[in-house]
Amino acid sequence: MTMTMTTTTAAASAAHLEYVLRLADSALVLGQRLAEWCGHGPVIEEDIALTNTALDLIGQARLLLTHAGTLEGRGRDEDALAFLRHEHEYRNLTICELPNVDFGRTILRNFLFAAFQAPLWEALASSRDGELAAIAGKSAKETRYHLRHAADWTVRLGDGTDESHARMQRALDDLWPYTAEFFAPDAVDDEVAAAGIGPAWSTLAPAWERAVLPVLQEATLTVPARTPFLSHGRQGRHSEHLGHLLAVMQHLQRAYPGAKW
């Protein structure tokens, strides 16, 4: 198999598992949010684009959750991890669980997140965890298209009509504080980085800014000042929105435990 871990002597460290769950849950939760657009897009092309992005993210999440289940070694598969964990056990970035609100805000969040995933996958492609490196190498290609799609629309809407500009600026003002979580220093990150499994997310800030700032400028949007606000989804402390999202996503397995289709 592609499992070429050099540290297979002991069970994976708790930090390693935690790190993979953060990647998996962020992809899964945003994928679930984007799936809400299915049948509701402003035009059919964008309905399809958002649901295709959702499919890619859910596909990435499936691979990552399967891997997390292997690392954990307690026999939980992707479905058990997706459908049978509670809110506080989820490790996604908070920004991924926020409501879509409107098309512009959905696009802007996709842009901010894809610009973060892109350098993350690139760094993970040389992870000492061979399976994680393989997933990252595959996902990097998909994320490039998500980023391009979201960047195009960010410019069109930001530098569009008075109404679209105003909505995009409001969305940026609201979403920007949540991007601080991407780069907040964190003990799990430090341990994983020291083991050569993945980058500490704080080191990705320069690459993210290089991708994000020129597009926001072209979109004529004003970048808000940083504030002390910090969200903690990565540590399992979520906004009120995740519980509602999981209630919908997990409904079937909760109502009919073990159901298969």
Binding site: E45, T53, L57, L63, G137, Y145, D152
Partner: protein
């Protein structure tokens, strides 16, 4: 039951059509990376195109069904993620089949950095004109974008380089 050779297994797989683009086979698509046989047992190594491609499971089922029908008793499908699939693995003869089917074949995939605003000129698969415009980054499936020809006015899909 007679033993199946790897060559015979490849021949069987060359007749398994992609469910979304039935004019090309799974081997032409470049997703079958290896075939190993041992008596009537066959192991097929498959690399998925996109992580979220909903056709992946159907393709695996079609591969297994075709091999069983051809006499293989024990069929194992192994998914291999690395190296990641690229459109460069699509067989040259399949590119022409795609074009005739109405899908503009992918340009060479260049790995690494690509400028965000780069929109390549894609030739219309119907009339050959290069005066085309992209309507959407994503077509009916994640692997395709939606274009329109400004000359013959027909919409068409473009298989995106990956």
């Amino acid at each position: 039951m007679t033993a199946m050779t790897a060559e015979q297994a490849w021949q069987v797989l060359a007749r398994v059509a992609d469910p979304e683009i039935p004019v090309i086979s799974v081997t032409e698509l470049g997703i079958v990376r290896d075939v190993r046989t041992d008596g009537a047992a066959v192991e097929v190594v498959v690399t998925p195109t996109y992580s979220g491609c909903p056709a992946t499971e159907l393709i695996e089922a079609s591969i297994a069904a075709a091999l069983r029908e051809a006499g293989a008793r024990d069929v194992r499908i192994r998914t291999q993620l690395a190296p990641a699939w690229t459109t460069d693995w699509i067989a040259p003869e399949a590119l022409e089949k795609l074009r005739r089917y109405g899908i503009a074949p992918p340009a060479a995939a260049r790995d690494g950095e690509q400028p965000l605003a780069f929109v390549p000129r894609i030739a219309c698969p119907l009339c050959g004109s290069r005066d085309t415009e992209r309507l959407s980054q994503f077509g009916a499936t994640a692997c395709k974008a939606l274009y329109r020809c400004r000359d013959c006015r027909e919409p068409f899909e473009y298989f995106k380089p990956l």
